[in-house]
Symmetry: D2
Subunit: 480 residues, 4 copies
């Protein structure tokens, strides 16, 4: 049952994108790449391939392994080039028509688009396009791109794509597939969202084997080699002539999302030349230096807290132990709990390891505190398992602002740090001491002298409130 | 697995449309109406309702009873107004995105469209629209309407709809649902496809209870009264002010599809003031007069041949018997037969009733011969059951031409009558004698003096090759 | 969601059975045979094949064409011998574990059973078997057979089967499949339920091509020839040695179910040497003689009333017309109607053909009146379409008693005829006159001088209350 | 498509069992308990509840969260008592009829059984039961129990259960649900498989709140307190009278499965009074002492290797790092890889973290080597990521023998350690050094002086070949 118009659809998308050019079984490789990027989106998955004559697509709700489980699906996606997309699972009404890649028939031929990120003027552009007579079929930002390309007065696909890109504002990485111009990758002018270029060895002769992906872990799974990051504002055009680079926006600087290091990216990825695992370990070490505490055991909140907890443990000399066990079988659905059972909720995902916690002074290491409710439940669980003291160490500065650049965060009024002092937060989550890494410490861990130095290269708007890209739609709202 | 572009999708659609305005449970009544029109399309069904604030829709592949089987579906379609659509089942790739009604968000608000028929300049218009930057999401003619409305320079929905209608050519009936202007019905300028106006008693006070439907049988099932046929080229606008009639095309004549009487419509419907059952009985009588034969039993090819066989039997005085039994449980799928079994195919649907046929001289009455293959199988089956003689009587003139106005017919080269003499046809289907009703006889059965008289009021292009509406797309093709 | 124990499961089953021995593609032929017998059961279907080494089975809920739609299913049912089963759709909780054929591993090898009918001592036997330690997995009578065979002290399958058959009481036809003894057919001692033997030509050399089926229409669909009916109480053993006949019960007489002629069997079947279609036509003629009435048109209640209405029309000289149109697209599910819509229920299945009914004196011909509620709705619909008079003629005597032999009938207290006089029934269903065929007339139509003559050969317990087989379970109930 | 008989079905089952008595929402609590035991079986899940009058059940293939995702399912499982079961996923043909708990109607009433483990005389007993006339409906050992209870000559359920238990041989834990005697737990005479007794606080007044579960982690998730382990050979009867203990077998010793500590149980469980996490850490420490090596980093093979790797790291002073990242989104299905892609298989589940491995001397810690193929792939992946040396340390002795007591192991001929010397194994998996923990070291880590001391209390047949329970079915095979 679909209800129109979909006012409830969430505008902010977290996603993974992947594309491969000039290899046999391009769609199967794309499925593997999407699987490696599954942490960036579990709601839906889709692949579009091109076989030299026609486009083929398959999309569905669910994990990559579910959507592409059927062997027939792969054989129905022929071609030496394919692009794919994962989408993040949000609560409520997800529809297949909101699944990417998007495909459109244009006067100049077909085109498929996979897009990660968020446009900050999507609503504004959409209203103008509808007024012009454009008909939208989804709630996705990506469809704004699709229409802007369609109505562009330029002739070539690449010119139309640049024309469209100049009209949108936002943080995004985008891969398109075209019959004549090949596979095209595009990263927003400030490079907020990641996009890397790689190559599978063995296809050099035909100028093939090129790969685009959100993270390097998607190169590793198919044995492709990392070539370089696509630059902020760069367009890479990949076809039989090789890789051509265009920079239509000039140099606007570089503001990569610092939260990719802290939480979102996979630990074995290398982003902007830096290992995510190393970054987290260093932040953990920095945190141990900034907020030392006398304790018996360092316990990560799994799974994202593990590398930083190892760093904290190494720096502090306090042993690292798995005091919280994660249940890996938690799927996207579970029994609707009765009232009696609802308070057991957090235990669906985590359980306390009493033999590690009982009678101990425990340091919990986690990546962030958003609403604070999950932290509170974990702390309660750890105390119930007998911990004598519980200290919380957070590997990011306090999350005080919403992200409008592609990371799902609640509105500011629901962010614990936006509304409370550190002491109030400590009480709210029920710990003996609470500390966040400092801004300077964060950037020192990333190799800069302080935030003045590092902050120019990163977007940390969710911590600082300094938004590097104008929030056009939001401004409109304030005016009204 | 969806393949793009869908070059294989068939442009010719047979469909049923239904709409109801100003009654509680509008969607449930629409489901009943669509059920009564199920013979016009079994491939898919859809309903869009409007509750005063928002549109709601549900669509699916399958019979009405299957698509709307779930009780929750109905409660998710609230509102006092709803429109619905059935679509004909063609072999191969049917997709939910080709299911009607179509819904679109416009600058002026939402609009839903259900459409029966075929545009003869759909391709031409579509190419122009795509060139302009319009993006299509289905293979349906209806979407051409949707875009023409979107880009119209007129202001009101009705003006935009008239603007669109003036640009399209074809045979169609159409129902749209709008928030502000109510429910709008539209019949093509020559009235090739049917559309009737009815009313449910009990809602007069609020100017409610209005119904639009392809056939009167859909009025009967909900106890609505027949008011009148929508006129050729007429637009009826139904809302709280009552029913307003617009005739933007002037009087272009009237060319109702004669094949609706012969085969397509349900026997209990009254179309253009004439009972379909009576028409068929009269054709059967006429055929008995034109092509009398000495025989023992009149046997209809079920189910469409029954009324005309009764007419033939009454006129000839030869007894009517069910010599062929239809299996009503034939669904849309069945076992993939092995070679051994394939020649038993026709028996899935029909079986011979030996006690009626054995040793008898049999007259088979059927509505038409298209490819001739099914007729041959039935004749063989009747002979195998012991019939001494088999005579075939057909209640239409020979089908020599394709329909481009909404009835599914194969291309001319595959029509038996287009390629063969009467005697060759007789041999091909293996009967002792074969006769078709004459053109004059057909129109006399419908109450005219001859074809000169009646033919002016009907489209009989599939028999005569006289196409009353220009075949724009087809002309384009010939030029190339 | 399955609930145990299944007290709600209905003990009375209507079914179709089919088996074929010694042909390639035995399972595909069985699917066709079951399709021809679909009118005997639409709830579920199943096939077990044997390939010389192993048994293979596929079962499912739904029509034969749905359960066996997938091509893979057929290739997974290899072998030259197969048996199959259709089951009647009752409201509510149907489960796959209640789908036949049943298969069991015995100490002497595997055995599959398909069973049509009802045991009158099933409960009594079941209780004794459970007390002995037998564990039941379904609610079906057939499982009683399965356990009786398992615990029999005899050695051979055939002796065990006879041993089991001697312990059960009831009306049934049964087909079993065994690795060593081939396919075995068994009909109850009085031959209440039908079972015919047929043969596919072309397999004589290997003694193959033998077919068992509930009705001859299942022979026709696969081009098999009718050989003979299996005799009451006869066991036929079909294997490479040909067909062996055993009569373990001696001659107990013959009491074939007369309701198979009136309603249940398909009109093109020949049962016990009599054409069902002819029997119905003759009953219609007899009814016209017994209960003549001055009228304008004879209208069958479709579909079962058609042959008898033709007989009535021929005898009376009053024209036969289709005054009621049946909607063939009524499936097993439909929208849950709102209160407003519920009274439109009957129109889902039938609609009035006004052009035949308006202003006419109408004779409706139907096969039986059970609760009377459907008849009332049809009469009301016919009157609403303008009939001047409505006369009802029924081709069976009044249904005053429940069937315990395999035909689904409600309990006696819900049978209109069990509780009301003819005049009260006439008023209840709202007709001008009402008449049932007389007992003598029914049997004269079947070729006997009167009921004394014919009644000895048939079971007419549902009309007469004379039950030829002891109702063991029911007696137990009365005692309690 | 089901094929009979199911010769391919695997006799060895790994499972989790859970039951709760005397609490509201018993089925929902059971679903939570099964979720906590999900690591013991991911193939299927089932729950049977009893509401004082009737049994209710729901079973399905898939994870607990999938099988019980629908809210309606829970409301259809009313009652204050419920038992549940998880089953291990094996490749190929899993059928719903092989899902537990099993339910049977007996002469004395209904009974449900959930069973973890393996009977070593199941085949022998099954043959005897079939010969007696018992009919089996599944391939599960549990059904042998069900029939033995049915045919027992004893009167009470508990006597029948003891009668059955005395006839079976094997390693198992079992929970049954009865209307009159309550919930009954039973552990095999040597206590090979675990079963713990717990209690939810707050239900003491009605003698309620009792819980039985395979592991204590299932108590933790519902906030139940650990009471004690059910003793080897003990029957606990739980009903309104409290907990009654029976020891029908006397004291046969105690041989708990040592592999539960090494691999199978969850690290946060306490089994036989010992923390699984601590046991693993101690084994890791012992291994570091036994097989020290100069290296740069200790890397666990996730997830089971983590605690022992932490122990190894702590003992050796070499840093612990996550050099291998596990992809948690690997489900039970994935794309059928092409030849090109097949060798990338292991990367679906694991990926190398280059920043930890490159240029390092790596010690990999894993729990066991079975066939050796997975180990080889992981080692290759670690080397491809730049490791300078790779040393493998295994926390169990070499796996040289199959388990017949409920742990899935391949036949002996496929076990690497059964066929190869240590040096050959080292070469086969491609490491620089390879070491297994010694028998004495293993038992020292568990708190004993050596294997002579500890081995008497544990079953280590898969390492030692000393099978404490007679392999009746296997013996039969050897004789043949």
């Amino acid at each position: 049952m679909m209800s129109l118009p979909e006012s409830s659809s969430r505008p902010y998308e977290e996603c993974g994108v992947f594309g491969v050019w000039g290899v046999p079984d391009a769609a199967a490789l794309t499925a593997l790449g999407l699987h490696a990027l599954q942490h960036r989106g579990q709601e839906s998955a889709g692949i579009v391939s091109f076989d030299g004559n026609a486009f083929h697509q398959h999309k569905g709700l669910g994990l990559v392994g579910e959507v592409f489980a059927d062997g027939d699906v792969m054989s129905a996606l022929p071609g030496h080039v394919a692009i794919g997309h994962n989408r993040y699972a949000t609560a409520g009404g997800t529809h297949v028509r909101n699944v990417q890649p998007l495909y459109a028939d244009y006067a100049f031929g077909g085109l498929a688009v996979a897009h990660n990120g968020n446009l900050t003027n999507a609503k504004t552009l959409r209203q103008a396009l509808v007024r012009r007579g454009c008909i939208f079929h989804s709630a996705m930002d990506t469809e704004v791109f699709v229409h802007l390309i369609a109505i562009s007065l330029y002739n070539t696909v690449i010119d139309r794509l640049m024309d469209a890109a100049k009209q949108v504002k936002g943080a995004y990485s985008l891969i398109t597939l075209t019959p004549d111009d090949g596979m095209i990758g595009l990263r927003d002018p400030l490079g907020v969202r990641p996009l890397v270029l790689g190559r599978m060895p063995g296809y050099e002769e035909d100028n093939g084997g090129w790969v685009l992906a959100s993270e390097t872990c998607a190169l590793d799974i198919i044995d492709a080699e990392y070539v370089r990051d696509v630059e902020p504002g760069e367009i890479v055009v990949i076809n039989a002539d090789g890789v051509k680079s265009l920079k239509p926006f000039g140099d606007k600087g570089r503001r990569f999302c610092v939260f990719e290091y802290i939480y979102f990216a996979r630990p074995d990825s290398i982003l902007e030349g830096k290992s995510v695992y190393d970054a987290r370990t260093q932040i953990g070490r920095e945190l141990a230096r900034e907020s030392a505490i006398d304790a018996d055991v360092i316990v990560p909140v799994p799974d994202s807290g593990v590398p930083s907890a190892l760093g904290y443990a190494a720096e502090s000399g306090i042993p690292f132990e798995l005091g919280i066990i994660r249940n890996h079988y938690v799927g996207r659905t579970f029994i609707e709990p009765t009232d009696q059972i609802r308070n057991l909720g957090v235990r669906m995902k985590h359980s306390a390891n009493r033999s590690v916690l009982e009678g101990r002074r425990v340091v919990l290491v986690d990546d962030s505190i958003v609403r604070g409710t999950t932290s509170r439940k974990i702390v309660d669980m750890v105390r119930a398992a007998g911990a004598k003291e519980v200290h919380m160490r957070i590997t990011s500065p306090p999350t005080k602002h919403s992200c409008f650049y592609g990371i799902d965060t609640p509105e500011e009024s629901k962010l614990l740090a936006a509304q409370h002092s550190l002491e109030d937060m400590r009480k709210a989550i029920g710990v003996d001491t609470l500390a966040f890494v400092s801004f300077d410490g964060l950037y020192q861990a990333l190799g800069y002298s302080d935030r003045n130095d590092g902050g120019r290269n990163y977007c940390d708007a969710c911590f600082s409130g300094e938004y590097p890209i104008t929030l056009v739609d939001k401004m409109g709202k304030l005016v009204q």
